[in-house]
């Protein structure tokens, strides 16, 4: 009769860990590179950059269609949080050179309109039409929400116009700050520090 060796549970776990050791570093690195490459090919790329301005840090981002986001007076993390988590974010000053150069000229008072492709495809047709009208307002001028609504053929839609302007993903470049209330008040502004920023922009353009 042969004596069988008695093994306790701790020994089983020890042998388990030894027998099922993990993969080697080369196998891990190879797979990691493959998954990253797949993600780089699959995920839409968003390149972004930042600059300083009299209104604080300005952040801007482009996708393959054009400028898709702009914000100022906020933290970097707040700006980046707006993008779809499935996209690939890349801080790329070179890709942003043209956008940032035009913004610098604007803040220096050397430019009043922008020559940039803009992507507002994520907005509804109504929101896009409101922003199209805002683009027709010349620098140094202001229109009321009511007038924008009239231009759209919807004179009773002043409030939806205001809501659509608040959804402008690229303030300054699409000059939603040039739209004010009928009573002469500034109305609202969602960019940067709100009405303080709106007032500053209108003063820069000579509208106030």
């Amino acid at each position: 009769m042969t004596a069988r060796k008695v093994i306790n549970d701790r020994t089983v776990v020890k042998q388990l860990r030894s027998g099922l050791s993990g993969p080697n570093a080369a196998a891990l690195a190879h797979s990691r590179a493959r998954v990253r490459k797949w993600f780089a090919d699959e995920a839409p790329l968003i390149q972004w950059g930042e600059m300083t301005s009299p209104l604080g840090s300005v952040f801007a981002a482009v996708n393959r269609r054009g400028l898709c986001a702009l914000d100022f007076g906020r933290q970097e993390s707040e700006f980046l949080a707006r993008f779809d988590p499935l996209t690939r974010l890349e801080k790329n000053p070179t890709a942003m050179r043209r956008v940032l150069a035009q913004l610098r000229e604007y803040f220096a008072g050397d430019r009043s309109t922008f020559n940039l492709p803009v992507d507002i495809s994520q907005l509804t047709p109504f929101q896009r039409s409101v922003l199209d009208v805002a683009c027709r307002i010349a620098p140094g001028q202001v229109w009321t929400y009511h007038r924008v609504a009239q231009e759209l053929g919807r004179p009773r839609s002043s409030r939806p116009v205001g809501q659509a302007l608040a959804r402008n993903p690229v303030p300054i470049v699409i000059p939603c700050h040039r739209v004010i209330a009928s009573d002469g008040g500034l109305g609202g502004y969602s960019g940067g520090s709100g009405l303080k920023a709106k007032r500053w922009l209108l003063r820069l353009e000579g509208a106030l």
């Binding site: 089983v12 030894s18 027998g19 099922l20 993990g22 080697n24 990691r32 993600f39």
Partner: protein
């Protein structure tokens, strides 16, 4: 700020790869890594497709493990079906050849443990791998395998007992 998919890859790729490596019964060599790589790729592809539907406060790690477990189960089922199609003669020849190659390259005991683990029922294998090789706690294991913590504990216990008895016979 919500977790971005890119961060998900960065944070969890390595442990998911290691988990699948063990679950698929691979040894420490580079050989066979391509199979695991394919499954890992499939895991992240499936995760990418359903990432938008995930609640921001979800346990992303457990969710990835769950996808990985399902992908591994599917692959193991395919392998099992393929093996069943082999004639008993072919199978025995293949196994003998594999055993000879392995014994010449690796410690016999490590191979024995791997073989024993590979023979465990799928759920016991997943439970014991998650608990003792991936060092996950029972609430997470229960979440990954869609079972109660008691069931996860019971599966780990049963797996260890099976392995203990089998190892006692081997030694």
């Amino acid at each position: 700020m919500a977790l971005r998919f890119e961060e998900l890859i960065q944070r969890h790729h390595d442990e998911i790869f290691a988990y699948l490596w063990r679950l698929m019964g691979k040894d420490g060599r580079r050989q066979g890594a391509a199979d695991v790589e394919d499954i890992v790729q499939d895991v992240f592809l499936r995760a990418y497709e359903s990432f938008s539907g995930l609640r921001p406060n979800s346990n992303h790690r457990a969710w990835l493990y769950k996808i990985a477990t399902n992908c591994a189960y599917s692959q193991l089922r395919r392998i099992k079906n393929r093996r069943h199609k082999l004639s008993s003669l072919e199978r025995s020849a293949t196994e003998q050849q594999t055993a000879t190659e392995v014994s010449s390259l690796h410690k016999q005991m490590e191979q024995t443990v791997r073989n024993l683990v590979n023979e465990l029922p799928a759920k016991q294998k997943a439970c014991v791998t998650l608990r003792y090789l991936q060092d996950l706690d029972y609430p997470e294991i229960a979440q990954i395998l869609s079972c109660s913590q008691e069931s996860a504990r019971a599966n780990v216990y049963q797996a260890i007992q099976r392995l203990r008895i089998a190892l006692e016979k081997e030694t």
